[in-house]
């Protein structure tokens, strides 16, 4: 076989570039059909032209025609990365994103067929070669799209952790930590760090951990709470756990969780009252209220 090493694809792409591009865009527009939310027409044309150009250049390098991880494919990969990231951010599905590359396959096959119909052996070889490249690129776009979504998710997760664990100062020397949502080990870590940092910064001697917003308390959550209390105690601050609902109290007892000698209170107000008292403060009325008639 004379053309064992190099393929006719690069040369063939170069010759028919304009026509392929035109057909490809038409195909993409048709495939997209009525579904909205895709890229704009001008953008599509620009992106397609850019991609096809890079694709042609890359396939011309004989050293690694079908290895899309190779250096010669860097530009193609960059274009696809930008494109997929952008589309994923706009809410396109992985299928929509991958269709961009896969729709080229059909066009190329059609052109190859009309070109090489007289040499079936070469035709089969070219089909195989093209399939490998296009499939590789298609998978690559999917991977990039997934990656960009994962980035978004992990960023949101981090933001959520930050948002949901504020440490507030109730009074001089009294901190409150209103917990909302389930406590897993990662969150406990953040909560603990925030609380301890704040204890150091403010010099507070008492911290109230309010678990009104914690939906369930199982052994793990209780263990995490106790850890936080122990760490605060090591720093020289005392913790009061408040906001224990009746169901949670019974769950804790049924599970046999031992909260040890941690002070617990039903409401944040009760806990705050204790905290003030320990600091030698009391809350009282300013002046006697005038008595109502008849009293």
């Amino acid at each position: 076989m004379p053309q064992n090493e190099s393929t006719v694809l690069p040369e063939f792409l170069l010759r028919n570039q304009t026509q392929i591009l035109k057909d490809w865009i038409a195909e993409q527009v048709r495939a997209r059909g009525s579904s909205k939310g895709g890229v704009k027409e001008q953008d599509l044309e620009r992106q397609s032209a850019e991609f096809l150009n890079a694709f042609q250049e890359a396939s011309q390098r004989a050293d690694a025609a079908d290895d899309i991880e190779a250096d010669s494919w860097t530009r193609v990969r960059d274009i696809l990365t930008d494109l997929s990231t952008e589309q994923a951010r706009q809410g396109a599905t992985p299928v929509q994103i991958a269709t961009f590359v896969f729709s080229l396959k059909q066009i190329l096959f059609r052109f190859l067929q009309s070109e090489l119909s007289k040499t079936p052996e070469l035709f089969a070889k070219e089909i195989w070669q093209t399939t490998r490249i296009i499939d590789g690129l298609g998978l690559f776009t999917t991977q990039v799209a997934m990656k960009s979504r994962e980035d978004v998710i992990s960023r949101q997760q981090a933001e959520m952790l930050e948002l949901s664990t504020p440490v507030v100062k109730l009074w001089e020397g009294v901190l409150a930590l209103p917990l909302i949502g389930t406590l897993d080990s990662e969150r406990t870590q953040v909560v603990m760090e925030n609380l301890l940092e704040e204890i150091v910064r403010s010099g507070a001697g008492i911290a109230i951990i309010d678990i009104t917003g914690v939906p369930t308390v199982d052994t793990l959550v209780a263990q995490h709470l106790l850890k936080t209390v122990a760490a605060a105690r090591l720093m020289g601050a005392e913790c009061i756990i408040s906001g224990i609902r009746p169901q949670i109290a019974s769950t804790i007892v049924h599970l046999g969780v031992n909260l040890g000698d941690v002070v617990t209170k039903a409401t944040l107000a009760d806990a705050f009252s204790i905290a003030l008292r320990r600091n030698g403060l009391v809350v009282g009325k300013l002046a006697p209220v005038r008595k109502q008639a008849g009293e």
Binding site: I199, A231, G236, R277
Partner: protein, 137 residues
């Protein structure tokens, strides 16, 4: 050989750990401290570990031991100024130092020791009003 200085402040002993505690240093501190407590009739020991940013289980256990020994010699131990990272590490190691009293800084620690001594010296029986802090009125 390295030693951690032990300062006498009235009735109390002040130990400020300024360097990384290695095991040998901790052992020395333990020996020195017990001797010093006996010599000086100290009523309390204040260990400031605000400069300590690495602890391991050995050092954690050592702090607990020092507190227990001091108590046997009738001196209360207060560990002050523990850093958040150190506190978290000790808790994760399962060492919550149950017998050790803690305070946020040296000043608070001193207050704690003084209150302790005053309580013991006071002829009036001390009533811990922490427990009956019910609703006012």
């Amino acid at each position: 050989m390295d030693r951690i200085p032990i300062l006498k402040l009235g009735d109390f002993l002040l130990v400020t750990v300024q360097v990384d505690m290695h095991d040998r240093l901790a052992m020395n501190l333990q020996d020195d401290l017990t001797e010093k407590i006996v010599d000086s009739h100290a009523r309390g020991v204040l260990i400031d570990i605000s400069a300590l940013d690495i602890v391991d289980s050995f050092i954690g256990r050592m702090l607990g031991n020092i507190a227990t020994m001091s108590r046997i010699l009738d001196a209360e131990t207060v560990v002050v100024g523990m850093r958040p990272a150190v506190a978290i590490t000790l808790v994760e190691l399962g060492l919550s130092l149950p017998g050790v009293r803690t305070a946020l800084n040296v000043e608070r620690g001193m207050d704690l020791l003084r209150a302790n001594v005053a309580r013991e010296m006071s002829p009036i029986i001390y009533r811990d009003d922490r427990e009956d802090s019910g609703e006012p009125g």
